[in-house]
């Protein structure tokens, strides 16, 4: 088992290395991105350009530049942005993490409650009108893209009905916990709901399918034969087994979102989280920040995958030998 874990994490480190090399090469292979020209400013004198190139080390071979960048990122922790110069990359990410965590944890609670609730309801009420109605709601959630839904929510809460029904909605942006839990939650309420809707829909549909399969299993028939109540069968037996794939899916989704996949929600609602930082860095072609955020995101995705794999291996010995 230990050997498997080590192999798995060794592979994860290799993936991170490959991603960082790829990001680095794509950046320098793009024409028109000479960072020295961008830093030196418009119409810079060639001598000034040469000075900037030398002082930032852009005149050195690419592998050396790569190693230096990694050294600044991981050893001396002083990698700075090319665009907002003097801004350290790591503190920017550390600043952004609480925002993303606040968004994702809150949304996760909502979508898990909603998704499990809707899925269970639809599975249990199969054959009645409730099932297709709940599922329709689920499809509705899945098919609304976050960036569109977010803009519509903003249009309604910040503009059309801001003077009346939604006058209590605070301006867009993030309020840290230091301003009080109330303000924090109020600022995040609509982002939470917007982000949660999509996942709630997916999880509800998935859970319904699993639940219906489980309800046809032999052990459920056995439980029925033993005279257990339908509710007990549903909650204690069928739902419990059906939740296993949901939980592993949740692990992956959560990892990706914390890594910055909530980008669209963050951009639409003006939340300065990791996704927003990535978006901004891509807009500016700010290599150090892109590198920092991409590695951070990849780390969470790879970590989540590795944890899930290890858990699976723990549960299923066959995986270990594969």
């Amino acid at each position: 088992m230990i050997g498997y874990i080590l192999r798995r994490f060794g592979a994860a480190v290799l993936v991170l290395f490959a991603i960082s090399v790829l990001v680095f090469l794509i950046f320098f292979a793009t024409p028109g991105v000479d960072p020295a020209a961008r830093i030196a400013g418009k119409n810079a004198d060639p001598a000034t350009l040469a000075q900037v190139r030398a002082s930032f080390g852009f005149d050195r071979p690419l592998p050396v530049q790569y190693v230096l960048m990694m050294k600044h990122l991981f050893v001396s922790h002083d990698l700075t942005s090319f665009v907002n110069r003097g801004t350290l990359v790591i503190p920017q990410i550390i600043d952004a993490v609480p925002v993303t965590l606040s968004l994702v944890v809150g949304a996760a609670v909502i979508w898990m409650v909603l998704g499990v609730g809707m899925g269970t309801l639809a599975g249990a009420m199969r054959g009645t009108l409730v099932d297709p109605l709940v599922m329709l709601l689920g499809v509705f959630g899945v098919s609304l893209p976050v960036y569109w839904l977010g803009e519509v929510v903003n249009l309604i809460t910040q503009k059309q009905l801001h003077g009346s029904v939604f006058s209590w909605v605070p301006p867009l942006g993030y309020a840290p916990l230091s301003q009080g839990v109330g303000q924090w939650a109020l600022h995040l309420l609509f982002p939470w709901l917007t982000l949660a809707l999509l996942y709630a829909g997916i999880y509800a549909r998935l859970l319904r399918g699993e639940l219906i399969n489980a309800l046809n299993e032999d052990y459920v028939r056995t439980a029925r034969a033993k005279g257990l109540s339908e509710r007990r069968i549903l909650i204690r037996h069928a739902l419990r087994c059906s939740l296993i794939p949901i939980v592993s899916l949740f692990g992956l989704d959560f990892g990706a979102l914390v890594g910055g996949a909530a980008l669209l929600t963050e951009v639409v609602f003006g939340l300065p989280g990791v996704g927003k930082l990535t978006y901004q860095a891509l807009q500016n072609l700010d290599l150090p920040v892109i590198m920092g955020t991409v590695l951070y995101a990849a780390f969470f995705v790879v970590l989540a995958n590795a944890v899930v794999d290890v858990l699976y291996a723990r549960l299923d010995p066959r995986v270990r030998r594969a």
């Binding site: 028109g32 991105v33 418009k42 119409n43 000075q51 700075t80 110069r85 801004t87």
Partner: protein, 564 residues
């Protein structure tokens, strides 16, 4: 200076930017809906409006806080309330904004008979926000610092100072000991130039030449605020979230023209909202002003429901097509002339948002800009003539591509240009590339760009800032991403005339203005640049903002807006 547009949002904008008429003189243009409304400040400070917090919005921070390095429109505007140079542009709305007034210097300098020495007497009693007095040593150190940090304009704007050439090559040991000389006893600083420079005072009035404390480290200070002399100081800056300005406790107004005290007690510059969300926030009174250009689809609404809160001002800038004169087919003069006839500029203005937002351009120098001559040799689109010229040049049927940025306006212009080029006899296609790299990409001659769409915003009000910068041999650097002469145009005659006009600027501004106009006209005939239109700036402010003034050089005077 080139500024990336609205849609670009990138933080590496450039700045400068000027406009011909400001809010103050009521020159705000009105068009279909969006009307410039101006509150003329009564002379003198109005105590009753002092106080409160002014809340500004931008999509993102605009880079380093170091005024010697930052070359972006957004930060230059904010620096007006933070720093001072020896001289400054007059901080008022209207045309008077182009006047140079003494700032940290007691009066305008005495210029030697040869035009090469400038002697400034320093004002006494001015303090930095850290409490230290401003001395001649600070001035000398600041000039050295421009070179020691390899400032973006050190090799261009300030290269005329004696010793500058060596400093640009070897920044570390730069002393400028013969170029900038202090006399502590007389409280004077003398700047020696290699050759007379009629634009020197304007260059000194830009943020790259502000005076900073002598102890300021010779490296980019990034997000660490450097003490300044203006009415405000930066309390905190996080380019992803907020810049907070508070009053500088050591500031007392010494010249209302150069550095007037501000109205709000605090200025919060919030970063992160999209421009759509920012417009809504200003409508709701949650914020007071937006830096980024307004989204086109909100203009009607602003023009109809919030007319009183919108201010429109023309900018000293143009959108243009740089024509690569070194690549076929536009190495042929007839082919370039064909291009001058090919475009319907009114159609282009429509693509930019209509007459509210731009006016068609006939010349390289924008209207009301020094040296602008009112001619229009290619007034109307004439496709037949263009087609004939293409035939004459013998280039018909050749492949031509136009490289545009991926914002909506540029893409539309690209598509339009493609259809026009097809009509006049070329096989044309559009190449759309990311706004973030388009500007550097089209500059590099290695990328073999025939045509592109770009913009230029004036750094300071001088004709040379367009003609000399964009079209002289000196600003063409083959194979470099930093070669602002995108056309690769290098004409010895034109260069000689430009040099002559710059020389004439020092002695006879009226004659030089005329000469610039002629040069503009000749360059239009040679066709390295196709001017498209001159954009305008729309500022949208909240209901509580008063005393909006548009400064021709640095745009809205933020600290002069009152919120009480």
């Amino acid at each position: 200076m080139k500024r990336i547009t609205a849609i670009a949002g990138a933080a590496l904008l450039a700045a400068g930017v000027a406009a011909c008429s400001g809010g103050g003189d009521g020159a705000a243009t009105s068009g279909a809906g969006t009307t410039g409304q101006t509150t003329q400040a009564a002379a003198g400070f109005q105590e009753q409006h002092k106080g409160g917090t002014l809340r500004l919005l931008a999509k993102a921070g605009d880079g380093t806080l170091d005024p010697h390095i930052n070359y972006s429109n957004g930060q230059w505007q904010i620096f007006q309330a933070l720093y001072d140079g020896l001289v400054s542009f007059r901080k008022v709305g209207g045309k008077a904004a182009y006047d140079i007034v003494p700032d940290l210097a007691k009066e305008l300098p005495q210029v030697g008979a040869d035009g090469k020495t400038y002697t400034f007497t320093l004002r006494t009693g001015v303090k930095f926000s850290n409490g230290d007095p401003v001395t001649v040593d600070d001035v000398v150190a600041s000039f050295r610092r421009i070179f020691r940090i390899s400032g973006p304009t050190s090799g261009t704007f300030y290269s005329g100072i004696v010793g500058a050439a060596e400093c640009v090559k070897k920044p570390a040991g730069c002393t400028l000991d013969k170029g900038v000389v202090a006399d502590a006893a007389a409280n004077t600083v003398t700047i020696n130039l290699v050759a007379p420079d009629s634009e020197f005072l304007q260059k000194l009035a830009l943020p790259h030449a502000v005076v900073l404390p002598k102890g300021t480290p010779a490296k980019d200070q990034g997000t660490t605020p450097i003490p300044g002399t203006g009415p405000y100081k930066v309390e905190s800056y996080n380019p992803n979230q907020l810049m907070k300005l508070v009053r500088n406790p050591n500031f007392t107004e010494w010249s209302r023209d150069a550095q007037p005290q501000g109205y709000p007690d605090e200025i919060d510059y919030n970063y992160g909202l999209t421009s759509e969300a920012a417009v809504t926030a200003v409508e709701n009174g949650q914020a007071d002003w937006i830096f980024d250009p307004l989204p086109a689809d909100r203009l009607t609404e602003i023009g109809t429901s919030y007319e009183q809160q919108a201010h429109v001002n023309p900018l000293a800038a143009f959108w243009y097509i740089p024509v690569n004169v070194n690549l076929a087919p536009f190495d042929k003069p007839e082919a370039r002339q064909a291009l001058q006839w090919a475009f319907d500029k009114n159609a282009l203005v429509k693509m930019f948002g209509g007459a509210n937002l731009a006016q068609p351009a006939c010349t390289i120098l924008p209207p009301s800009f020094p040296g602008h001559a009112d001619f229009c040799d290619f007034s109307q689109q004439d496709l037949a003539k263009a087609k004939q010229l293409v035939q004459q040049s013998g280039t018909a049927g050749q492949e031509v591509s136009i490289v545009v940025a991926d914002d909506d306006v540029s893409k539309q212009i690209g598509e339009y240009a493609r259809s026009v080029l097809e009509q006049i006899g070329y096989q044309a296609k559009v190449k759309v590339i990311s706004t973030n790299i388009q500007f550097t990409y089209i500059q590099n001659s290695k990328n073999k760009v025939q045509l592109s769409v770009s913009q230029w915003y004036a750094d300071y009000p001088a004709a040379s800032n367009f003609l000399n910068v964009l079209l002289s041999c000196a600003s063409y650097h083959p194979g470099s991403d930093s070669s602002i002469n995108i056309s690769g145009f290098c004409d010895k005659d034109a260069d000689a005339k430009i040099a002559q006009a710059m020389k004439l600027d020092q002695t006879d501004p009226a004659a030089s203005g005329k000469l610039w106009g002629e040069i503009d006209r000749e360059l239009m005939q040679k066709g390295p640049i196709i001017p498209l239109f001159n954009p305008k700036q729309i500022d949208f402010v909240s209901k509580n903002v008063g005393n909006y003034q548009f400064h021709a050089q640095f745009h809205a005077l933020l600290d002069q807006m009152w919120v009480k």
